[in-house]
């Protein structure tokens, strides 16, 4: 049984209400932070904890907070990024739906540390029922004196506003989110200037993921040093993983980043193995935009060592033989899944969600989708596979925001690791419409050079 810091109280009946949450020890961290700590001490504690952004990029949160500009007389803002739209990721929804007060508590502490008097939660439009839960929690917290004017007699004012998005994936990119929050079209801004200097309404702004902000609560409660002892290396603390796909127990799990990928997939405590006793073929370990890995490279690194569920181990070997922990959207594919179809589905998603601002992403995502559709429907040619590789190479790194990279990585990884499956589709146009390539050699032990 691993350590649980965020979801330890998730099963307490009525934890969604303020009374139960408070009775279970909630809002202690706010009391501690606002009464006993200075803002700098909180930032220092977060730095010590080694907490890394849980939204996908894994940037150290304490460092991000210390970048915020503090010009005289200019208000600063904290924005909570709840636009969780990455296919395969649904951890923030779980957190907001069942433990809304944990997020509110984290938001109050973070707002205090950053000096944000107006804090925003930008939530994706498809989470239609969650803003009501959050707003109810905010009202309860306000009635109990945790929000509003002069909180706990410290002179600190804070209000939390919930803003619903229109349902665009791109609005999860921090600058597009800020544009959308300002009421404009959700196009990513060209950086620099970074939001920490000029963000929401050209004021210094920090944008953090829901899970990151919730993790502030245990950090304050137990202290940054204690928090850093959980986990391994630079992957400190606990991480929520939303597991889905062909597994027995899909759901949201809190792990302490010391377990192996194999244990996570096959242990009954977590995924519970592959559904219907089938074999593991591939896995996208961190949300749809990170590279897909075949079973053998997922369970062991190219050096032959077991792979762990943490930032470093999953990215071991770079993109050649590794992937990323990303946002923790763990998508498992069994032996009956077709990688070409899977890649086509993802390409279709990115084509639909590209904002259309910069040309490589706008045109390239549509082109990749069309070629993948061609291969998937049995009309592909060998040259199409090389063409796909060339297109993704020309999108990656040449766009304004990371959506271009996110669209090209899955295609690149699918071709890198599953090229023979693509070739099989091209060579067997009729067979590929009625049957699957199957597991083949993708789970064979990898050859480790001595």
């Amino acid at each position: 049984m691993g350590v649980k810091l965020l979801l330890d109280k998730a099963n307490v009946p009525g934890i969604r209400t303020y009374e139960v949450y408070r009775r279970e020890g909630g809002y202690r961290a706010v009391e501690k932070a606002l009464k006993e700590m200075t803002t700098d001490a909180i930032v220092e504690e977060v730095k010590k904890s080694g907490l890394r952004g849980r939204g996908g990029a894994g940037f150290p949160t304490g460092m991000k907070w210390s970048f915020i500009a503090k010009p005289e007389g200019v208000p600063r803002h904290l924005v909570c990024n709840a636009d969780e739209s990455e296919p395969g990721t649904f951890k923030d929804r779980y957190l907001m739906e069942f433990l809304p007060h944990l997020l509110i508590e984290g938001l109050i502490i973070s707002s205090f540390a950053l000096g944000s008097n107006d804090t925003y939660i930008y939530i994706r439009g498809e989470y239609a029922w969650i803003p009501d839960i959050l707003e109810e929690a905010i009202n309860e917290a306000k009635a109990a004196g945790w929000l509003g004017k002069n909180i706990l007699g410290t002179g600190f004012d804070c209000n939390i506003h919930v803003q619903r998005g229109g349902g665009a994936y791109i609005c999860g990119e921090e600058t597009a989110l800020i544009e959308s929050l300002e009421g404009k079209r959700g196009n990513p801004r060209i950086k620099p200037p970074f939001p920490a200097i000029q963000g929401l309404w050209m004021r210094p702004t920090v944008v953090n993921n829901v899970e990151t902000l919730a993790a502030i609560v245990p950090i304050i409660n137990m202290g940054g040093d204690e928090y850093a002892k959980i986990g391994v290396g630079k992957s400190t603390g606990t991480k929520l993983i939303s597991a889905c796909g062909n597994i027995n127990n899909p759901g949201v799990y809190e792990i302490d980043m010391t377990i192996t990928v194999e244990e996570f997939i096959y242990s009954d405590e977590y995924c519970g193995g592959i559904k219907d006793g089938k074999k593991l073929k591939a896995c996208i370990p961190g949300g749809s935009s990170v590279p897909i890995l075949p079973a053998n490279l997922l369970l062991t690194t190219a050096k032959g060592e077991p792979r762990y569920m943490n930032y470093e181990s999953l990215s071991d070997g770079g993109f050649a033989t590794g992937s990323m922990l990303g946002s923790g959207g763990f998508i498992v594919l069994d032996e009956d899944q077709c990688i070409v179809k899977n890649t086509y589905t993802l390409a279709r998603f990115y084509r639909h969600e590209s904002c259309g601002q910069c040309s490589p992403c706008r045109e390239g995502t549509g082109w990749m989708e069309k070629i993948l559709q061609k291969i998937e429907t049995g009309k592909g040619e060998m040259s199409d596979i090389d063409l796909l590789w060339d297109i993704q190479r020309k999108i990656e790194g040449n766009t304004i925001c990371p959506l271009g990279d996110a669209a090209s990585w899955p295609v690149a990884a699918a071709i890198r690791h599953f090229r023979d499956e693509f070739e099989w589709h091209v060579k067997n146009p009729e067979l590929s419409q009625t049957s699957n390539f199957g597991l083949q050699h993708y789970a064979d032990p990898i050859h480790v050079p001595a």
Binding site: A168, I190, R351, S359, W367, T399
Partner: protein, 374 residues
């Protein structure tokens, strides 16, 4: 005013000093020639433009004197300001050339390439760009996205199929008019410039969107299909206009004025008036004053000799003297980009001289003479 701080920046091995806050693109334009990266969406007269088309990507091989680390990715030179001691690679970087070829290919994917019937042909930035960096073949074998043509008011037509979504017209309307009624609807490759439910653009300065459009998406309805730009003679002219500067270029054939545009500099941007303001012109000047007697004609407009519009007619500035410089000299030391180099094709087509060295426009005699001499 305190002394201006100057930064040293090196682009493709050429060093120049520019004031702090200058972008890489502007610094490279001061050097000029092929060192200046192409720009499809950036427009120096429009605040906030740039960064979108990605044609101006450059490699920063040295960040600055203080922090010499190179930048990890290619950067959009139009939106990146120079640092002291920065070293930039444009055409000398393989990465840049490769990425730019990619961007050109992307821009042309959904572009109809209907240049033969497009009014912008001859002064189209996309044409120039694909001539310099594009390939002669396409790898795209699917249906292109198309839109219906729309009239935006009585003088402007929107041909959305040609649009490359540079956002210049959106910025123009934001910054020149008091109320913008057109914008981008939808997203991704199906995004389009549109007015919400067929409104007309009728601001007095809205005609400038035609001048800023890098392609033939926004065209002048008073000029549509009337003539090709290279058959017209551009003349600088002015009139006493109560709303704008009245400084324009007339495009004549004989004495007839075919169209009126603002004066554009070598980068295709609106020239400043003598008082330092951008020379935007009003709709009255642009669409209604089509009579030579409305204007005081100043003289022929200098058009870059590399442009198809000059057609070899504008040596110096006036007259039709036969040019004496080589193509290389005219084109800033740049050899002609040929889709097919005849030197390599067959023994028959083997003049012992590079085309770039031929004086003036070449014809059959040129080759025969040269071969005989050799």
């Amino acid at each position: 005013m305190s002394e201006q701080i100057l930064f040293k920046v090196t682009v493709d091995g050429i060093t120049i000093e520019v004031p702090a806050g200058t972008t890489i693109l502007q610094a490279a334009r001061q050097i000029g020639g092929q060192v200046a990266p192409p720009a499809m969406c950036y427009y120096s007269k429009l605040k906030g433009s740039g960064g979108k088309c990605r044609t101006c990507l450059v490699e920063v091989s040295k960040g600055s004197e203080k922090d010499p680390r190179p930048m990890p990715k290619l950067v959009a030179s139009c939106r990146t300001t120079v640092m002291d001691g920065m070293e930039v690679k444009n055409i000398t970087s393989e990465k840049v050339v490769d990425a730019r070829a990619g961007v050109v290919e992307f821009l042309l994917l959904n572009h109809p390439l209907d240049c033969p019937i497009c009014d912008q042909a001859g002064e189209c930035h996309l044409q120039d760009l694909s001539f310099d960096h594009g390939k002669s073949k396409t790898r795209f074998e699917f249906q292109k996205r198309t839109f219906k043509k729309h009239d935006l008011g009585k003088n402007i037509q929107l041909h959305m199929t040609r649009c490359i979504l540079c956002y210049r017209c959106v910025f123009t309307a934001d910054q020149l008019t008091n109320k913008r009624v057109h914008g981008i609807l939808d997203r991704g490759d199906h995004a389009e410039i549109a007015t919400h439910i067929e409104k007309s653009l009728d601001n007095e300065f809205i005609g400038n969107v035609i001048d800023v459009c890098p392609v033939g998406a926004l065209t002048d309805k008073t000029f549509r299909f009337k003539n090709r730009v290279w058959f017209l003679k551009p003349m600088d002219a002015h009139r006493d206009c109560p709303t704008c500067s009245g400084r324009v270029t007339l495009w004549n054939r004989g004495d007839e004025v075919y169209r009126v545009t603002a004066r554009k500099d070598e980068w295709g941007e609106i020239e400043d008036t003598p008082d330092g303001q951008p020379g935007w012109i009003c709709n009255t000047c642009r669409f209604d004053k089509k009579d030579a007697s409305d204007w005081v004609i100043e003289g022929p407009r200098a058009i870059s000799r590399a442009s198809v519009i000059s057609q070899g007619h504008y040596a110096g500035n006036v007259g039709t003297t036969k040019p004496t410089e080589t193509f290389l000299a005219v084109n800033g030391g740049r050899a002609p980009h040929l889709l097919m180099d005849i030197h390599d094709e067959s023994e028959v087509n083997k003049p012992n001289i590079h085309l770039g060295q031929i004086h003036g426009p070449s014809h059959g005699d040129t080759f025969e003479n040269k071969i005989e001499k050799a």
